[in-house]
């Protein structure tokens, strides 16, 4: 899983996906006919075929923070990029694009209550505004820092949401040889801030069918919110989330493909959240869209946890559906 490690350790906060993009392009060059990067920064890789035009999408971006103000003492105030749980980020480390590490602190009065973002700051050890500004400018984004671990059949890393999805698409591309359908593998930007990259990419590709590959919550930890999805039970075939009711034909095709190739799968009904599928299926006159989800614990934290077997199941299902849809 070297590639997954590389992908997760790269930083690509929404709007600043460059490093991830470069990594992906060099990885997939050999496995497609044509690569373009659109105005939103999404990577559109075409793997030609004579059959149906199918778009696969996984987003490259991750949640993070963005510097908004630097005070006289060199402390950096910030805003969130994407959905952040403020109570979880206190004392987390963030990494700016130049590699500078900062620690998230909070004003004293916030210690005893639910912290709010405007009472928090980033400390990069600078002693003055001038010193801080040598490393960080207002508008710079930073990702949450975290290591990469594989053990007991799981992988623990930051940004598995959604580098795991990128990894799944890349590995599926590698598996697919002489594909009959006309395939577009799209690595989208700005999903975490409103499914934006997928919207324009889908408009450009104008596919007949689409499959988004992303992560989903699980209900398998102690006293977790009720949800049927669990780690190690296979690829999750999405029925719905807040952004999409998945197309029934695509859904049934996924189930049939999984059964045929004996790929473990489970059904996912999510009453919160959204994925690129939400943007894609509403493109132009509508796109029949489904989604494959990787079950993920501790989403949007530096210690996201997924099952390696599930990741492999998602790869198999993605490859299988590309040929059978």
């Amino acid at each position: 899983m070297k590639l997954l490690e590389k992908l997760t350790m790269a930083d690509g906060v929404s709007g600043g996906e460059d490093a991830v993009r470069d990594m992906i392009i060099s990885e997939i060059k050999k496995y497609c006919d044509d690569i373009t990067v659109d105005a939103m920064g999404s990577v559109i890789a075409h793997k030609k075929g004579k059959g149906k035009k199918i778009m696969f999408a996984a987003h490259m971006d991750e949640i993070g923070v963005i510097a908004t103000f630097i005070d006289d003492k060199g402390f950096i105030r910030f805003s969130n990029v994407g959905g952040i749980y403020t109570k979880e980020i206190l004392y987390s480390r963030v990494r700016f694009k130049n590699g500078i590490i900062g620690v998230i602190g909070a004003e004293e009065e916030e210690f005893n209550k639910k912290p709010s973002l405007d009472k928090m700051f980033i400390d990069i050890g600078a002693k003055s505004r001038a010193e801080a500004e040598k490393y960080v400018s207002v508008g710079d984004t930073a990702a949450f820092a975290g290591g990469y671990t594989e053990q007991n059949g799981v992988v623990i890393a930051k940004a598995l949401d959604n580098r795991a999805g990128c990894y799944i698409l890349i590995e599926a591309m590698k598996k697919l040889k002489r594909n009959k359908n006309d395939l577009y593998f799209v690595f989208t930007t700005q999903e975490e801030v409103g499914l934006r990259g997928a919207k324009t990419a889908a408009y450009a590709v104008a596919p007949e069918y689409a499959v988004a590959v992303d992560v989903t919550d699980t209900g398998d930890t102690p006293e977790a919110p009720k949800m049927a999805v669990s780690l190690h039970r296979g690829a999750a075939i999405k029925v719905m989330d807040r952004s999409v009711m998945c197309d029934v034909d695509v859904r049934e095709a996924m189930i049939a493909a999984a059964k045929k190739a004996k790929i473990p799968y489970q059904m996912e009904v999510l009453n919160i959240g959204g994925t690129d599928a939400g943007a894609i299926h509403l493109t132009r006159a509508g796109v029949k869209t489904g989604a494959i989800s990787l079950p993920l614990r501790y989403m949007h934290s530096p210690s996201e946890t997924a099952s390696i077997a599930d990741i492999n199941a998602c790869v198999s299902l993605t490859a299988a559906i590309a040929d059978t849809l």
């Binding site: 029925v239 719905m240 009711m245 059904m267 009904v269 006159a285 509508g286």
Partner: protein, 342 residues
């Protein structure tokens, strides 16, 4: 009219599951249309061509999906837990007999705990309810899967001589009006092409209308939905049933189009009230208006009591008034769109 409303209200399809009924709806349009198609999101689009070159295209639409529930898990005891699809009121659910759309349709009872095990005065949250289908888990799993849709029970139908109560009159009563309009226009010479649409997924964000409007790109569109009827517990922003439809005004509505609808209603002695929204109307009109380069859009509504419950109730005369207005509006079209210029 009554039987058409009943037939449509009896159909069962939550948002995203319109494939269960869209072919049937397409059949209902067939005798009155030159072409009927189903688009990528499952919406039914019935086209009536007038045969005149460059004639304006008019979209008349209602949505065909319904609010309901979706199975989220099957417990070891065989109970089905569920979540909402669309804005459903959890307080209407206890003791309801619902239909679970598994491999075959089966009935289920939504049960809550007895009152002595509940907190006094508190309603029960959806996550604390389950559907009881009278089977053990192994039996249930043979028929039901996570993600299967669940629909509400049907209401009584005729309520007195004038009113009608059913599940899903939002928005199948409007759809009945669209179908009836197409029937009445059948042999008439028209100056516009009519796109009569039954759109999907309105209850989860007006999704079917959005993509259908982009695909058709009509010169004008009239969305038809329901509005709140006056009841003993609400008269604010509500309209009495049996006293005509509403014609909407506000930023979501093209002023010339609403003006023409009002004039058509006045000229033909059709009863209406004006309904005003300062912004979002919460209907397909909101999404249709911004499709492509923008579409002149209007909104007509039928007053409906108990919206989003299993006992939605309306007056049949209001649906008839709506049909009359639509037919007169289409017949009154002279084949140009100059009058829409702002």
């Amino acid at each position: 009219m009554r039987s058409l409303i009943k037939e449509l209200s009896d159909m069962r399809a939550i948002s995203g599951s319109e494939y269960r009924i869209n072919k049937e709806i397409a059949q209902m349009f067939m005798p009155y249309a030159d072409e009927v198609r189903i688009d990528a999101l499952g919406s039914v689009i019935a086209v009536r061509e007038c045969g005149i070159e460059n004639a304006p295209n008019v979209m008349i639409e209602a949505h065909c999906d319904e609010i309901g529930l979706i199975v989220t898990d099957i417990t070891d005891e065989g109970f089905l837990t569920f979540g909402p699809v669309g804005g459903i009121d959890a307080r209407i659910l206890p003791a309801s007999v619902v239909t679970v759309h598994g491999k075959r349709d089966i009935e289920g009872v939504i049960g809550i705990k007895p009152d002595y095990l509940l907190e006094e005065g508190k309603s029960v949250k959806m996550k604390d309810m389950a559907i009881d289908v009278g089977m053990d888990a192994a039996e249930v799993r043979k028929i039901v899967s996570i993600g299967d849709g669940v629909t509400l029970p049907q209401s009584v139908g005729d309520l007195g001589k004038k009113q009608f109560s059913g599940k899903t009159l939002d928005d199948r009563a409007s759809l009945a009006a669209v179908i009836e309009m197409m029937r009445r226009l059948k042999d008439k010479q028209l100056n516009v092409n009519v796109y009569a649409c039954a759109h999907t997924q309105e209850e989860v964000g007006c999704r079917g209308a959005k993509v259908s409007a982009f695909g058709i790109m009509p010169d004008m569109a009239i969305a038809i939905d329901v509005t709140h009827g006056v009841t003993p517990d609400n008269s604010y922003n509500a309209f009495p049933v049996g006293q005509g439809i509403t014609i909407s005004l506000g930023p979501n509505i093209h002023p010339k189009l609403s003006e023409r609808l009002i004039k058509t209603a006045d000229d033909n002695h059709i009863k209406y009230a004006l309904e005003v929204d300062g912004g979002e109307t919460g209907t397909d009109a909101w999404e249709i208006q911004i499709a492509g380069a923008g579409i002149p859009t209007a909104l007509l509504s039928i007053p409906l009591k108990y919206m989003h419950t299993s006992v939605e109730t309306l007056a049949v005369s209001d649906v008839k008034a709506l049909v009359k207005l639509l037919v007169n509006f289409i017949e009154g079209q002279e084949g140009d769109t100059q009058w829409l210029k702002l």
